[in-house]
């Protein structure tokens, strides 16, 4: 292992500032909360601004397909900022997971993804684990004519998608098909995290286009990149929770003192700071490791094992340390709590990532 650069490059700093400016202006937390009551007007507007106006949809698309040809490092910066704002946009599902799955395909969809013309979702449950067996990755079957039949539940990004990328299983080969979303049954799910609302997908003998005939490696790679970069979203969620809590406790007075001056809270916040810094570090490290193609699986497992729980802890501390106000709907803390808890389950829990890590670093479990 060489020492990867864990500090942001100038390009990454600029990218962060641009994304943050846009989110500060266009992603008010009250509008985010409105998605819980069915008002999803923010979603399309914000995604258009990010994907088309800023061109983030094509961040990972190679330049020859009209994309920015950036690496996982830059995508991690975007996700960190999206996490900080609990932005309800399908960047992770379309610009990261679906895009990564298509990278080896040379398919025309890549070009459409690059322009933001088309948003894509790969149909796996959000909770899919990275080492899930093929039959869990792909519950849909394709007949000889390329007609797809099956059902996939709890798919993230499908509500925002134009095209579904459907892993199918056939004998023991995993293939990838593209289906226009209008032809699939897409049933919205009342989700714990409505800022990444899920949908159940039903495919009922739909004609589809084969994108990759031997797609298992591409699909697994897409999930691993998704999991690795989700860690940056989690670090963003956690960092924002820490910041807003510290800021609130510097203002809030009880017992004639600023509440943030009570030592028990100071020590908890100090511990949380240490955790957030570590979360940032392992998230950046995973993105850098994948970009450099160096030991990415270990770095991903570490990042997910660490950040999944840390983000939940940070959001829980934010709710608790805001006192009663943090329990109210009008305060945004709950948006972060729900995102953090759903993110913890997304791509497998921390425990699942630790179990995966055991195999990667030779810490075997109990002998059977």
């Amino acid at each position: 292992m060489s020492d990867l650069n864990l500090l942001p490059t100038d390009v990454e700093d600029d990218l962060r500032a641009t994304v943050r400016d846009l989110l500060v202006d266009h992603c008010e937390l009250s509008a985010v909360a409105a998605v819980y009551d069915g008002d999803r007007s923010l979603v399309e507007r914000l995604w258009k601004a990010l994907s088309v106006d800023l061109g983030l949809a094509g961040l990972l698309v190679p330049e020859e397909h009209g994309g920015a040809g950036a690496s996982t490092r830059e995508a991690a910066v975007v996700l960190d900022e999206l996490g900080r704002h609990v932005a309800p946009v399908p960047f992770l599902t379309s610009a990261v997971v679906a895009t990564t799955a298509l990278l080896d395909s040379d398919h025309a969809l890549l070009g459409r993804l690059a322009t933001g013309d088309c948003t894509v979702a790969m149909t796996v449950p959000l909770s899919i684990e990275l080492d899930a067996p093929g039959r869990e990755l792909a519950s849909v079957t394709a007949d000889d004519g390329g007609r797809l039949t099956g059902r996939v539940t709890s798919v993230a990004g499908a509500l925002e998608a134009d095209v579904l990328l459907v892993p199918t299983v056939d004998a023991d080969r995993l293939a990838l098909y593209a289906v226009p979303v209008e032809q699939a049954g897409v049933e919205p799910v009342v989700s714990l995290d409505m800022t990444r609302q899920l949908a159940d997908i039903t495919l009922d003998g739909i004609a589809a286009e084969l994108v990759l005939a031997d797609a298992e490696a591409a699909v697994r790679r897409a999930l691993e990149v998704g999991a690795a970069l989700l860690a940056s979203e989690q670090a963003g969620v956690a960092g924002r929770c820490l910041e807003t809590t510290v800021a609130y406790l510097k203002e809030r007075r009880q017992f004639g003192r600023v509440v943030g001056g009570f030592q028990a809270l100071k020590h908890r916040l100090a511990d949380l700071y240490a955790g957030v810094e570590s979360a940032r570090s392992v998230a950046v490290s995973a993105a850098a490791a994948l970009a450099a193609d160096e030991d990415g699986s270990v770095a991903t497992a570490v990042a997910q094992a660490y950040c999944s729980d840390l983000a939940v802890h940070a959001a829980e501390e934010a709710v608790q340390l805001h006192g009663g106000i943090g329990m109210t709907w009008e305060h945004p803390a709950h948006l972060y709590l729900k995102r953090a808890k759903a993110d913890q389950i997304a791509f497998g829990t921390a425990g699942a990532h630790r179990a995966r890590l055991a195999g990667l670093v030779d810490l075997p479990p109990v002998r059977a």
């Binding site: 017992f255 939940v312 808890k341």
Partner: protein
């Protein structure tokens, strides 16, 4: 009075008031008048002045006879907090006026204590009560009021003298919730529901005869109320009652979702829940011999921690199902079941367990200072006139 004499009283009462043929309200009022409502209360106020320990037997006999109850869950604040405070601090007229309809459930009570700026620091309330002849005129905002929309009366703490230090300028009132100056707005929580309310008071008039305790004594009276809240450590719990039971059932029902790490975490929490249950049992046995002390704070602390960890674990155990929620629609639930609805609701609702009724941070202070005798926090707000404090 021996327990047998008490049993005789119940039998006599039931002989003259057949639960099957007597109107419910009439039955309850008669039971109150017979001193068989809360038997530890004095005669004339629903009781017989006998030890609290005898209450359970009386209740059991009434249940056995098929008697209607006073629906205690609908008036928890009234029965648990208002009544003992009125008994301790009320005038004879107040006791006579309020206790009976409170016990029968004809008048539901709520609590107007917390304010946006006075949560853990209750003595910081800013709601003002200004004397106007024989009455007080009250203006301010209260929060975290459960049942305000159903309540006929409220226990209220307001500031009557801002020139006094914060703890000395408070007075305690019994407030008519049907006053036109009262506005109740539902307060939506992170679960989507509005279990609590905000209450806005605008020129609410309270007759001085509804002041409880002396003017300026509000802090002392309010503390009596809050002690009743905090020492409540519940009834004998069976093993696997509450959140641990729910999650253990989920575990048994979902063999395919089990992992070794979830197993050990569940077992740790099972042990913690069982330890808390046994500790509660031991504490109750102790309390039966003497006065409630601050030790109950540790029980509430444990309850909150365990419920939060368990409900968090349940979502991880459920995996994909944990990503789904029942319904975000804003409703006003008539009652609250911490372990009800779905796993997502349990997870979110449990977050309140460490805030409501004394935050876990305040409880730790109480244990450290009142049980362990460690020094109190340095305070700068105790001797300064309230109006001069930085808010």
């Amino acid at each position: 009075m021996t327990i047998d004499e008490l049993r005789g009283r119940v039998a006599d009462f039931l002989a003259t008031h057949d639960p099957r043929s007597t109107d419910r309200l009439e039955f309850l009022r008669a039971r109150y008048d017979a001193g068989l409502a809360w038997v530890a209360f004095p005669e004339g106020h629903g009781g017989l002045g006998v030890p609290q320990a005898l209450q359970a037997e009386v209740d059991r006999l009434f249940v056995e006879a098929g008697a209607p109850d006073n629906n205690p869950s609908a008036n928890g604040i009234g029965l648990g907090m208002a009544a003992p405070t009125i008994l301790a601090f009320g005038t004879d007229a107040q006791k006579a006026r309020f206790l009976k309809p409170l016990w029968t459930g004809e008048e539901i009570w709520c609590q107007l204590f917390s304010e946006p700026g006075a949560g853990s620091d209750l003595a910081g309330v800013a709601t003002r009560a200004v004397r106007d002849g024989d009455a007080w005129v009250v203006n301010g905002q209260k929060v975290w009021t459960s049942g305000a929309h159903n309540a006929k009366y409220a226990i209220l703490v307001a500031r009557t003298d801002p020139d006094q230090p914060k703890h000395s300028g408070l007075t305690y009132f019994l407030c008519d919730m049907t006053d036109p100056g009262i506005e109740v707005r539902p307060l939506r929580q992170i679960t989507g529901e509005a279990e609590f309310n905000e209450v806005f008071l605008t020129d609410v008039r309270i007759p001085d005869s509804h002041r409880l305790g002396e003017e300026g004594q509000g802090w002392k009276v309010a503390n009596a109320t809050l002690n009743n809240e905090r020492v409540s450590i519940g009834k004998t719990a069976l093993r696997e009652s509450g959140m641990i039971g729910v999650v253990a059932r989920t575990w048994r029902a979902q063999p395919e979702r089990r992992t070794p790490e979830l197993h050990d975490r569940l077992l740790r929490l099972w042990v913690d829940a069982e330890a808390a249950r046994i500790t509660g049992q031991r504490l109750r046995q102790k309390l039966a011999q003497g006065q409630p002390g601050p030790e109950g704070s540790a029980m509430k602390l444990a309850f909150a921690t365990i419920a939060q960890q368990l409900s968090g674990l349940e979502l991880e155990l459920l995996g994909e199902d944990g990503l789904r929620y029942s319904d975000w629609t804003m409703v006003r639930p008539e009652s609250v079941d911490f372990t009800g609805r779905d796993a997502g609701y349990r997870y979110l609702r449990a977050k309140g367990n460490s805030i409501e009724g004394g935050t876990s941070e305040i409880l730790r202070n109480i244990i450290a200072e009142r049980v362990l005798g460690l020094p109190a926090e340095p305070r700068l707000d105790k001797d300064v006139p309230w109006k001069e404090l930085q808010k």
